[in-house]
């Protein structure tokens, strides 16, 4: 795995998880896989961070969880987005967009001024 990995800024992991789960009920392992795939291996979330985050989101009622069967017939815990999770995702992504644009802008200007 020669690609470069990034550390996730604070609070971003929650947003990424919510976004991943927004596509439909999904279990923890699949979340980790998808994050890695979609970010083209840039984002790797170790289980040690993923599961505490999932449990935290569940306790905060942004995710709901229930036990179900995978295609291979194994029992797994599936997470889905709750209504407040969806709202959190919307406001979260909006402010993330604003922030990243602003950061981008500053970085651009700084480059220009150099």
């Amino acid at each position: 795995m020669g690609s470069e990995k990034s550390d996730l800024p604070q609070g971003t992991l929650d947003l990424l998880i919510l976004k991943t789960v927004a596509l439909g009920p999904v279990h923890g392992y699949a979340i980790a896989q998808r994050l890695q795939q979609i970010s083209r291996d840039v984002v790797q979330v170790p289980g040690g961070s993923l599961y505490p985050a999932l449990h935290r989101l569940e306790i905060r009622n942004l995710l709901a969880a229930e036990w179900g069967q995978t295609e291979t017939g194994r029992e797994a815990k599936f997470y889905r987005l709750t209504r407040s999770g969806r709202m959190h995702l919307q406001t979260g992504s909006a402010s993330w967009k604003r922030l990243s644009e602003a950061v981008g802008l500053i970085l651009e200007t700084a480059k220009g001024g150099a």
Binding site: H27, G28, Y29, A32, P46, G47, G48, Y51, P52, A53, H55, R56, E58, I59, W67, R74, E75, A76, K77
Partner: protein, 869 residues
Amino acid sequence: MNWWQRLLRREDQEDHLDLELRFHTDERVADLRRSGFSEEEARRRVRIEFGGLEQVKDDCRDARGARWIEHLHQDLRYTARMMGKSPAFTSVVVALLALGIGANTAVFSIVDAVLLKASPYPSAHSLVRVEESSTSRKLFGVPAKHYQRWADRSDVFEKIAPYIRDTVTLAGDGEPEQVIAVRSLQLLPVLGVAARLGRTLSTSDDEVGAPNAAVLSDRLWRRRYHGDPSVIGRAITISGDAYVIAGVMPPDFEFHYSEAEMWTPLRLTPTSPWLQVAARLRSGVSATQAQSALESVAHQMAQEEPKEYAGLKIDVKPWRDTPEQKYKSTLVFVSVAVGLIMLIVCANVGSLLLSRAIQRQKEITIRASLGAGLWRIVRQLLCESLVLALLGSLAGILVARSVLEVLTKQLAGLPIVLPHLKRVALDERVLGFSIVLCLVAAVLCSLAPILLATRTDLQAALRGGQAVAAPRGSSRLFSTLIALEAGFAFLLLVGSGLMIRSLVRLQQEDHGFRPDHVLTLRVPVGTLTQPRPSGKYDTRPRQMAYYREILERVKTVPGIKAAAVVNNLPLSGINSSLSFNLPGPDGKSGPTSARTISPQYFAAMGISLIAGRDFADSDQAGAPDVAIINEYLARQLFPNRNPLGEKLTTESSAPGPMIVGVVKDSSQMSYESPAGPEVYIPYQQFMFATFMSTIVVRTEGEPTALAATLRKQVWAVDPNQPVVQVQTMDEVIANSIWRPRFSAWIFSVLSALSLILTAAGVYGIVANTSVLRAHELGIRVALGATASDVLAVILRGALIPLVFGLGLSALAALALSRFLANLLYGISSSDPMTYVGAGALLLGIGVAASVRPAWLATKRDPLRTLRAD
């Protein structure tokens, strides 16, 4: 989810967490295998990626806020394992704590019922007591004449109730008995209490022609009428008068004298005895306002009739149902004493936990080095002592129940009825107290091991050899515990030593009479409020004749050396007095304590005649009035003269009786208060109210053997008259000093307990430290120390802290014991005998307890000890 739901569903949560994480790792392993890794390699990679399954689980629990539950669970599991491993240790600790917590819980339940629980009356804030005092004369209550001057202040009082404590005789339906009655029409309405059966008294009971109504206490109702609800309306005879039972009060009602068993109406006349007054203030009137209103009344009264009312003061005080001061302080001291027992128990348990912590030092150190923080270890120790304390509390409740049983039996055996004892119960307040006590005990007991844990040097402990070496600081902790135990025990011993010595003084002191071989029988006629009841004994001469006839018959009984009648036996708790205008000890003139007696009274009681003569049968109505005074009064009135032949002055200008004799001072109302002035009058010349009249006989043999014969002699005179309270004089005395006897008893029990606990504690600590110091001792022996050197080292180790503890405690005792002073008789609260005795006793106990383990230490083979390292 609540914390307890979480706790309950913990197992579920844990299973789910496990399952979820296992699913993840399994999937990952499967994926890796698909991309060509071997099973083993795949698992290794997953472990690395995942970074410690337990850590992840903990983080998840943290995320759910469930980590503490898991830790608690671990702590509890660990505690259970430790306890299971050493059941003997566990049961000793639990038993010790049960003893301490149980005793304290029991005592608290009494203190709570008697001193702390709120006043039982509705809207207690408007309930007041009205009292009078005077700077010019002695007042023992409110004279009826005064009362009528201010009772009708309806702008101040909504309701007002004068009342009198009376002693009445119930007869006719069963054995005659004397009970305490409170005479008052309005008292129960003023207090705002209702009857449990029937009704209380009301103004209609005061109407002319209304039958006399009586309200019974629950106790009397059960005792005499077997709890029969049909007693309402039944006719009974009270001191010769016909009454009808109107109601029965609830069991917890006590007023105002806890021994009161009956409430009957009071008909006020200007000559009624001294009154007590309870009142309800009109709403919006405060006690202070009422006070100033009555002050102006008093002022006005004094201006109108300066001779009668000069110096009069009227006080309005919020009602307090508190028991007598000495009784209160006794209870407080008993609580302090059991509190000390608790502290000794905690020190004992602390030293046990400490020695176990030392044995487990290695294990704790390993856990600490594996990343369990100090807090985690402290929590573990706390958890253990909390569980032990909880078990101790549970067992303690059983202990409390049996202690209460013993205590209430002891208290019920007392001659007086203590207030509010009926409220004593193991209720929620008491359980709350025992929970708090349990928590405090848990913290105190774990202090020593926690202090040890905080001082443990990880490196050093791990480097240490196989043998258990005493960790740094542990010997100082042990010494502190010895000092604490000895100190607390010393406080208790000094307290009980003072009580016991005071009791011995009280019993050995010459109280002016010889109580051995004296039997007393109370033969009452009438009551305080109605001294000459209608019927056979409605005049003084008829009453005198009754007693004369009894005496004549009693004197014929073989085995009687002397027989007499006295209107009021000494130590009965009340006094009769005559209004001789004699200066009292405080300079105020007023009534002087007096007794009407028959000839031979002094012989029967063993009071010595110092000068002059005893009364004779010829001292009767018509003959010149005579009196005998005690030494105190003789000294006071005739400091440098012979009192014989002098006349006592009375309030009226008529000449008083002539003094014909002087007798030794003897106890009057109580054994504890010093004798004051006293006058004796022959019963055939003057007779007080006879409701307490008592026959006193001096016998040749065992006095109680004559009781039945004497009763028969009284009934031969009049079979309808009651004979109550047949007691030897020794019993009368024992009953009158119940409080010092009770204190001495309970303090002896508690200090014996403290001695046992301290002895056991010192023994345990010396045994333990000498094992811990085996290495050092081995070296000493190898370097030539003899057995007695070793013995000395160990004894020194135990006795130096013990002496130190005693010294500090002696200072504390000196400072604290002055609070005991008002409970002591005849000795100072810093009585050196007691202090030295207590110190010597504890020192002896300390030596005795440490000799055996020390001696055992000398028997150990030093070489083997050293080799074991």
